[in-house]
C-alpha cells in the first residue's frame, strides 16, 4: 500500500469528492448502531445486583468518555500533520472535531455526576479522573475560543495546534488517572481484555454496539463539519481576494 497516496486527501477538492460517497454510509451506520445499541441497553438488559438500574447509564457514559478522549487524540494527530506538512484540511479537521469532542466531554461529565449521586452520595468529587476530565473540557472550550478569536486562518491553526499538544497531557491523564493514582471515587476501567475484570457479557455486547454508534456518529459529524470548514475557508479567501481587487 502506497502511504503517500493518502496525502491526496489533503487536497480540499479531493476530500469533498471522496467524503461525498462515504458520509451517508457513516451517518446511516451511526443511526442504526446508536439507536439499536441504546434500545438494547435500555430495554433489554437486566439490573446490576449492586448498581440497580443505574447500570443503564453505562451505555451513555462509557462511549461518550471514550470519544471525549479519542476526539482530542484525533485533534492531536491532525494538528501534528498541520505543524509538519502544512495541509489545511488537517487543521480544519481538528477545528471541526473540537465541538463534537466537547459535547462528548459534557455528556461524560453530566452522566457521571447523575450516576455518582445515588452511588457515591455526591454529584462531584475532586477525584483524579473527574478533575482531569473537567480540565479537558476547559481545554476544549479554550481551543474553540482560540479558533474564533484569531482572524488569520494559518495563525489560528498554528496556535491551536500548540494548545492541542499541551492539552494532550490532560487527555492522556483523564484516560489513565485511575491507574496513576490509587485514590478517589472513580472505579477502575469498566472495559478490560481480561474476562474476569471486564463487565459481564449481558452488559458488554450492547455496550459494544453503543461504542460503535458513538464512533460512527463522531466520524460522520467530523466529516460533515470538516467539509463545512473547507467551504467557509474558501469563502473567506474569495471575499478577501475580491476586497483586494476592488
Amino acid at each position: 500500500m502506497n502511504l503517500n497516496a493518502l496525502w491526496e486527501y489533503a487536497n480540499p477538492k479531493k476530500f469533498i469528492q471522496t467524503t461525498d460517497r462515504f458520509l451517508p454510509w457513516f451517518a446511516g451506520l451511526a443511526a442504526v448502531t446508536l439507536v439499536g445499541g441504546l434500545i438494547w441497553g435500555f430495554f433489554f438488559t437486566p439490573e446490576d445486583f449492586r448498581q440497580g438500574s443505574t447500570v443503564k447509564i453505562i451505555y451513555l457514559h462509557v462511549p461518550s468518555a471514550l470519544m471525549a478522549i479519542n476526539a482530542w487524540l484525533m485533534m492531536l494527530i491532525t494538528s501534528l500533520i498541520w505543524i509538519v506538512r502544512r495541509h489545511h484540511v488537517s487543521a480544519l479537521a481538528a477545528r471541526a472535531a473540537a465541538p463534537v469532542g466537547m459535547v462528548m466531554t459534557v455528556i461524560a461529565l453530566v452522566t457521571g455526576a447523575i450516576w455518582g449521586q445515588p452511588m457515591w452520595g455526591t454529584w462531584w468529587a475532586w477525584d483524579p479522573r473527574l478533575t482531569s476530565f473537567l480540565i479537558l473540557f476547559l481545554f476544549y472550550l479554550g481551543y474553540i475560543a482560540l479558533w474564533e478569536a484569531i482572524e488569520n486562518d494559518d495563525t489560528a491553526a498554528d496556535l491551536t495546534s500548540i494548545l492541542c499538544l499541551v492539552g494532550s497531557v490532560f487527555a492522556l491523564l483523564s484516560r489513565y488517572a485511575v491507574n496513576f493514582w490509587n485514590q478517589g471515587l472513580h472505579q477502575g476501567a469498566s472495559l478490560s481484555l481480561d474476562k474476569e475484570e471486564n463487565v459481564a457479557d449481558v452488559f458488554w455486547y450492547p455496550l459494544l454496539v453503543c461504542m460503535a454508534g458513538f464512533v460512527f456518529l463522531f466520524i460522520a459529524l467530523v466529516l460533515m463539519r470538516t467539509r463545512t470548514e473547507i467551504r467557509a475557508r474558501r469563502m473567506r479567501a474569495l471575499l478577501a481576494r475580491e476586497r483586494m481587487g476592488a
Binding site: G52, I57, V106, I114, W115, L221, A232
Partner: protein
C-alpha cells in the same frame, strides 16, 4: 414495555434525556451550518464569476 427502573428511575431517565438532547442539538447545528455555508459559498462564487 418500559422497564421498571425502581428508585433510580429519575437518574436513568435524566441521563438519557440530557444525552439525547445534547446529541440532537449538535447534529441540528452542524447540519444547519453546513447548509448555510454551502449556500453562501455558491452565492459568493457566482458573484465572483460575474465580476470576472
Amino acid at each position: 414495555m418500559m422497564p421498571d427502573l425502581g428508585k433510580y428511575a429519575e437518574a436513568v431517565l435524566s441521563s438519557y434525556a440530557v444525552t439525547i438532547a445534547l446529541i440532537a442539538v449538535l447534529i441540528v447545528l452542524s447540519v444547519r451550518r453546513s447548509n448555510r455555508v454551502k449556500k453562501e459559498l455558491q452565492e459568493v462564487e457566482t458573484k465572483v464569476k460575474s465580476n470576472g
